[in-house]
Subunit: 210 residues, 2 copies
DNA sequence: CTTGACATTCACCTGTCAGTGACATAGTGC
DNA sequence: GCACTATGTCACTGACAGGTGAATGTCAAG
C-alpha cells in the first residue's frame, strides 16, 4: 500500500477522464471512477468533499476546450492572407478538428443536453469567453474589415458542425451524408467553405460545392 | 379492477410519452412507465415482450416527426411566392417551431447522442425520408429552379437550429444569445433569413441582420 | 520503541433497477 | 354451479448505485 495523498488525488482526477472516454457520461459515477483508479471511493469524499467537486477538479485540470491560437494561430499560406472568408473557413474547419480529437469534450457536450453537470458549466464558461476572443481575432486577421454576417455565420455554422461531430458516434447519418467516413467530413468542409464564401460575397478560390 | 387488455396496452404506450416529457430519457425505465400507467410492470413483458418492444410501439404510435405539409404546406403570401430563398427560410423557421412543440422528440434527439435506442432508430428513419421529400418540395415551390447550395444550406442550418433547440432547455446560451427568451428565437430567425438570402444570392425583402 | 496522525480499506446501509415465479381475481363457455 | 383462460397483483431475487462509520495499515516524530 503506497501512502501518497497527492498521487491518489491525481489518480482519481485522471480516472474521471478515463471513465468518460471508455464508458461515457452514462457510466460515470463514484464507483466506476474509484474502480478505475484502483482506490476506494471513500477517498473521493475525503479528498474532494464529494463527486461534484471531483468533477470540478477534473474540469480545471483538463484540456477541455481549445485556445484561440489553436484555431487561428498561424498565418494562412498563399494570396488569401487577408480574406475574411478564408479565415472564417479555416477557423470553422479547425474547430471541427479540435473537437473531434477531444472525446471527453464531446461526451460532456452531449450529456449537457440531457442534464447539466458541474463539468458542463465549467465548459460553458470557457467556450463563451474563447468564442468572443475568436470572433474578434477573425476580424483582425481578415484585414480589420468587419462584416455584419460574420458572427451569425460563425455562430450558426459552428453550432451545425458541433452537432454533426456529436452525432457521428451514435447515428452518423445526416441528410444522406455519412459522417463515419473521412469522405463525409470532407463534404462538411466543402459545404462550410461554399456557404461562407457565398454569404460573405467573396468568390471562392477553389470552388467545392457539395 | 378493470380487465381490458387493449386499454392497458394503450395506457402503457401513453405512459412512455408522459415519462419522457416529465422526467426525460434519464428517468425512462420499466418501473417508471408502469408506475405512471398505474399498472404492474409485468404487463410490459407479457403484452410487449420487453421494454424495447414497448418503445417501438410508442414510436409507431406517436407524432414524433412532422410531415412535409406541416413545413411547406400552405402558399406563401405576397410577391415572394416563387422565391427559393423565401421558401427555404420559411421551411427552416417552421422546422424550428415544429421541433420546439415536440418535447418528446427533443428528448429522444438529445439522448441519441449519448446512447442510441429503438426510439432514436425509428426517428432517424422518419427524419431521413421526410428530409428528402422536403428538399424536393422546396425546389418545386421555388419555381423549379434548383440551386447547388440548397441542400447544403438546408442541411447545415437545419443542424444548427436543431442543436440550438436541444440546448435551450439545459444551457440556453450560445454565442451571447439567450435562447430561453422569445427574443433569442427571433434573432435565430433573423440570422437564418440573412444567411439564406446572402448565400442564395437573392436580396432580402425585409433585411434583418442580427 | 511508542505514539499518534493520516492514508487506505472493509463492511454495511438504503434505495432503485430489470426481470421472474406464484398467486388472486374477473369474465366466459359449458 | 363449474372449470378454464386471461388479466392483473404481489413478493421476491440479484445487481448496482451513492453514501457512511469503523477498522486496518503505514509512516514519522518524539
Amino acid at each position: 500500500m503506497v501512502r501518497d495523498r497527492v498521487r491518489s488525488q491525481a489518480r482519481l482526477v485522471a480516472a474521471v477522464g478515463q471513465v468518460l472516454t471508455e464508458a461515457g457520461f452514462k457510466g460515470l459515477g463514484v464507483n466506476a471512477v474509484a474502480r478505475r483508479a484502483d482506490l476506494d471511493k471513500v477517498l473521493i469524499y475525503r479528498y474532494f468533499g464529494g463527486f461534484d467537486a471531483l468533477l470540478e477538479a477534473y474540469a480545471r485540470s483538463g484540456d477541455l476546450w481549445w485556445s484561440v491560437d489553436e484555431i487561428v494561430g498561424e498565418h494562412l499560406p498563399g494570396p488569401e492572407q487577408d480574406s475574411l472568408a478564408a479565415w472564417c473557413v479555416l477557423a470553422l474547419k479547425r474547430q471541427v478538428a479540435a473537437l473531434r480529437q477531444r472525446p471527453v469534450t464531446q461526451q460532456i457536450l452531449a450529456w449537457e443536453l440531457v442534464e447539466p453537470s458541474p463539468l458542463s458549466r465549467a465548459l460553458s464558461e470557457l467556450r463563451e469567453a474563447r468564442t468572443r476572443q475568436l470572433v474578434g481575432r477573425l476580424v483582425e486577421r481578415g484585414g480589420g474589415r468587419a462584416h455584419g454576417l460574420l458572427p451569425t455565420l460563425h455562430g450558426l455554422l459552428g453550432a451545425a458542425s458541433l452537432y454533426l461531430v456529436l452525432r457521428a458516434h451514435s447515428v452518423g447519418q445526416w441528410h444522406g451524408v455519412d459522417f463515419t467516413t473521412e469522405a463525409g467530413w470532407g463534404r462538411l468542409d466543402g459545404a462550410i467553405a461554399a456557404l461562407v464564401h457565398a454569404a460573405l460575397g467573396e468568390p471562392q478560390a477553389t470552388p467545392s460545392r457539395r
